[in-house]
C-alpha cells in the first residue's frame, strides 16, 4: 500500500513504476537486513569517494608523540606503532577494499558473462570447450591464484584485482549459463530467430536481460568475498604492499601488537566484518527477491 503512495503521480513516472527493476528496489526496502547492508555499503562508498576531504590527517604521517594511542581527541580511532592515524588509514583502506571488490567482480562479470552466454547459445562443441576451461579454473582457489600472481608480478592493486577477478570468472559463466539453458528454449527466443534477428542481438536483447538477475546476486555476494580475499592476501603479505594502507595489511601490522593495543586489530577487523556482512545481506535479499524458486518463502 505504502509503495504506491511513495511514487509521484503523473504519466511517465507511473509507467516507469511498472518496470520490473523498480519493483525489485521496492521489495529490497522492506527487508531490514538489506536496508542495513545498503546503508553500510553507501557509507563505505561515500567515505572512499570523499576521502581526500574527510581524512583527518595524512595516513602516512607519523606522530611520534602518540604511538599506539587508544581512542583520543587527536586520533579518534587510535594510532599504530609508527604513530599513523588509524581512522585515516581505515578510510584510505576503504578505497582499496572497494576498488578491489568492484574491480575483481567487474572483471569476473566482463569475462565470465560473455563466455557463459556464448557457451549456452551456441551449444555443443563451443559449450564443451568453454565450460571445461571454466571447470579447470574452478580447481584453483583464488588465494592460490593470487599467491602465484603476486610471486610472478609482485603484489599490487592490479595483481590482486586480476587474481580475485580470474577466480570469479567461472562462477559468473556458470550462473548466466544455467539461466540461459532455460531462456534459450523459450518461445520469445524462437520468435526472434523466426524474425531474422542475429545471434548477438538475440543474446544481448533477450537472453542477457532475462538471465541477469542471478548474476546480480552472485556479484553482490562475490564483492563480499573479494573484500575478504583482499584482506587475507594483505594479511599473509602477498597483497597490496605497504605503505599503501589496506584493511588486510593493517591487520597484519596490528597482529604483533595485539596484547599492547588490541584496538589496532579490532578496527580493521570490524570494518572487514561489517562490510562483508553488508554485501552478504544485500546479496541474500536480492536472491530472495529475484530467485523465483524462493519467492514467497521469505516474505
Amino acid at each position: 500500500m505504502s509503495d504506491s503512495a511513495a511514487l509521484p503521480s503523473g504519466g511517465a513516472w507511473q509507467r516507469f513504476g511498472h518496470h520490473p527493476a523498480l519493483a525489485t528496489l521496492r521489495k529490497l526496502s522492506r527487508i531490514p537486513q538489506a536496508v542495513f547492508g545498503v546503508v553500510v555499503i553507501v557509507a563505505t562508498v561515500l567515505a572512499a569517494v570523499l576521502a581526500p576531504w574527510i581524512v583527518p590527517v595524512d595516513p602516512e604521517e607519523m606522530d611520534f608523540a602518540n604511538l599506539l594511542s587508544g581512542i583520543s581527541s587527536e586520533h579518534w580511532l587510535g594510532s599504530d606503532q609508527m604513530g599513523r592515524d588509524t581512522l585515516a588509514r581505515l578510510i584510505v583502506g576503504a578505497q582499496v577494499a572497494l576498488m578491489v571488490s568492484v574491480g575483481a567482480v567487474g572483471l569476473g562479470v566482463a569475462i565470465g558473462v560473455p563466455l557463459g552466454l556464448i557457451s549456452v547459445y551456441f551449444r555443443g562443441f563451443v559449450d564443451d570447450v568453454i565450460m571445461r576451461l571454466m571447470d579447470a579454473l574452478v580447481v584453483f582457489p583464488s588465494l592460490l591464484i593470487a599467491v602465484g600472481l603476486a610471486a610472478a608480478m609482485g603484489g599490487s592493486l592490479a595483481t590482486v584485482i586480476l587474481a580475485i577477478g580470474l577466480a570469479n570468472v567461472p562462477w559468473m559463466a556458470r550462473v548466466i549459463r544455467s539461466q540461459g539453458l532455460m531462456i534459450r528454449e523459450l518461445d520469445y527466443v524462437a520468435a526472434a530467430q523466426a524474425g531474422g534477428m542475429g545471434h548477438l542481438r538475440i543474446i544481448a536483447k533477450h537472453i542477457l536481460p532475462n538471465g541477469v538477475a542471478p548474476v546480480i546476486v552472485q556479484s553482490t555476494l562475490s564483492m563480499g568475498y573479494a573484500v575478504l580475499t583482499e584482506a587475507a592476501l594483505g594479511f599473509i603479505g602477498v597483497g597490496i604492499q605497504p605503505p599503501t594502507p589496506t584493511w588486510g595489511n593493517m591487520l597484519q601490522q596490528a597482529f604483533p601488537m595485539l596484547d599492547q593495543q588490541p584496538l589496532l586489530s579490532v578496527v580493521p577487523g570490524l570494518a572487514i566484518f561489517v562490510l562483508v556482512l553488508a554485501f552478504n545481506f544485500v546479496g541474500d535479499a536480492m536472491r530472495d527477491i529475484l530467485d523465483p524458486r524462493l519467492k514467497g518463502v521469505i516474505h
Binding site: 509507467r15 511498472h18 518496470h19 520490473p20 523459450l186 518461445d187 520469445y188 524462437a190 520468435a191 526472434a192 530467430q193 523466426a194 524474425g195 531474422g196 534477428m197 542475429g198 545471434h199 542481438r201 536483447k205 533477450h206 536481460p209 532475462n210
Partner: protein, 317 residues
C-alpha cells in the same frame, strides 16, 4: 507459396559420459505438402506426433535432417542465417503458450515493433505509429502500448503475438496451436481475428492443432499426422465427411458432439502413441488399428491418391 518435400527431422538420443549417439527420435519422417497463397492447411494429430516440429522446421528454427523446403520455388533448406533473412520476413509464427512467447522485460510496443527494427523497416516515431496501427488492427488499445506483458490477459497476449507476426507483412504464418491455451470464449475471438486477417492480407496459414473443431472451422485442406508421417490428406469437407484412414476415423469419433440425443458408435483408441525412437514395423499405426493385418505389420504403406486431392496411407484402402 510453400512447398515441403520429404521433410525429415531426427533428434539424436545421447547416452553416457561421452554422449554416444544410441538412437534417433524420428520426430518428422518424410512429410510433404504444399500451401498456396491465401490458403490454410490444417495439421492435426496427437501430442508428440511431430506437428510442432514440422512447423518449426519449415521456418528453419530447427535444421532439417533431410528433404527440402521451398518458398516460391527458392530452396531455403540449407541457407545460412544471413541468406535466410529475406525469407524470414515472409514467414512468421504464433505460439501456443501466451506466456513464454513474449519477453517479460520488454514493453508491448517494443515486442511488436522489434522486428521492424531488425529489418530496418521503420524507426522512432514512424515505428511507434506502425505499432499503434497494428495494435488497433488486432484489437488492442493504443494506451496499452507501454504496458508490460504481465499486464495483459492470455487472449490479449495472443493478440500481441499476432501483431508481432503481422509487423513484417508476412505471406505465411505458422500457427502452432495458437488457441489451445485459451478459454473457449476467447478462442473464438482469436480464431475470428485470424480469419479476418487472412481475408484482409491474403495470408497463408499452416495451422497446427489437436482440436478438430477448430481445424474444421479454419482450414481449406487438412493433413493428419501420426508418429512423424502424414497418414491422410484431403480437403476439409472430404476429410470430415469421408475419412478413409482408420486413425482419422478414430480421431473424428473422439470429437465430442454437443447433442445428447445423437447416439454415436464409440470406438476409442487404446494405448498411447508408440515411441518415435523404436517405431513399430510396417504401418506405424498397426499397434492400435482395429483392422490391422499381417501386411500392415510387415509393409510400410505409402500415401496414395484414392480420389482427386484425397491421399491416404493405408493398405486397406
Amino acid at each position: 507459396m510453400l512447398e515441403v518435400m520429404d521433410l525429415e527431422k531426427h533428434f539424436p538420443v545421447r547416452k553416457g559420459l561421452f554422449g554416444r549417439v544410441t538412437g534417433h527420435v524420428h520426430a518428422v519422417d518424410g512429410v510433404s505438402f504444399t500451401i498456396d497463397a491465401g490458403e490454410t492447411l490444417g495439421l492435426v494429430g496427437e501430442s508428440g506426433c511431430g506437428k510442432t516440429t514440422v512447423g518449426r522446421t519449415v521456418l528453419r528454427l530447427l535444421a532439417p535432417t533431410a528433404g527440402s523446403i521451398r518458398v516460391d520455388g527458392d530452396d531455403i533448406t540449407r541457407l545460412g542465417n544471413r541468406e535466410l533473412r529475406p525469407y524470414r520476413r515472409r514467414m512468421q509464427i504464433i505460439f501456443q503458450d501466451p506466456f513464454s512467447s513474449l519477453d517479460p522485460r520488454m514493453s508491448a510496443a517494443d515486442i511488436v515493433g522489434e522486428l521492424l527494427g531488425v529489418h530496418g523497416v521503420a524507426k522512432g516515431t514512424e515505428r511507434r505509429e506502425r505499432v499503434a496501427a497494428l495494435f488497433e488492427r488486432v484489437g488492442l488499445r493504443a494506451d496499452q502500448l507501454d504496458n508490460y506483458p504481465h499486464e495483459f490477459s492470455g487472449g490479449q497476449r495472443q493478440r500481441l503475438s499476432i501483431a508481432r507476426a503481422l509487423s513484417l507483412n508476412p505471406e505465411l504464418i505458422v500457427c502452432d496451436e495458437p488457441v489451445s491455451a485459451l478459454d473457449v470464449s476467447i478462442q473464438a475471438q482469436v480464431i475470428n481475428l485470424l480469419m479476418d486477417l487472412q481475408a484482409e492480407f491474403g495470408l497463408s496459414y499452416l495451422f497446427i492443432a489437436h482440436d478438430l473443431a477448430v481445424v474444421e472451422h479454419l482450414s481449406d485442406r487438412v493433413a493428419v499426422m501420426y508418429l512423424g508421417r502424414i497418414v491422410e490428406f484431403a480437403d476439409r469437407q472430404t476429410l470430415f465427411e469421408n475419412p478413409q484412414h482408420p486413425y482419422t476415423e478414430s480421431l473424428l469419433a473422439a470429437v465430442p458432439v454437443p447433442d445428447p440425443s445423437r447416439a454415436r458408435r464409440k470406438r476409442h483408441l487404446e494405448g498411447d502413441v508408440p515411441s518415435p525412437v523404436n517405431r513399430p514395423s510396417g504401418c506405424h499405426f498397426h499397434t492400435r488399428c482395429p483392422y490391422a493385418t499381417a501386411q500392415c505389420r510387415a509393409e510400410e504403406p505409402r500415401l496414395k491418391a484414392i480420389a482427386e486431392g484425397h491421399e491416404v496411407a493405408c493398405h486397406l484402402r
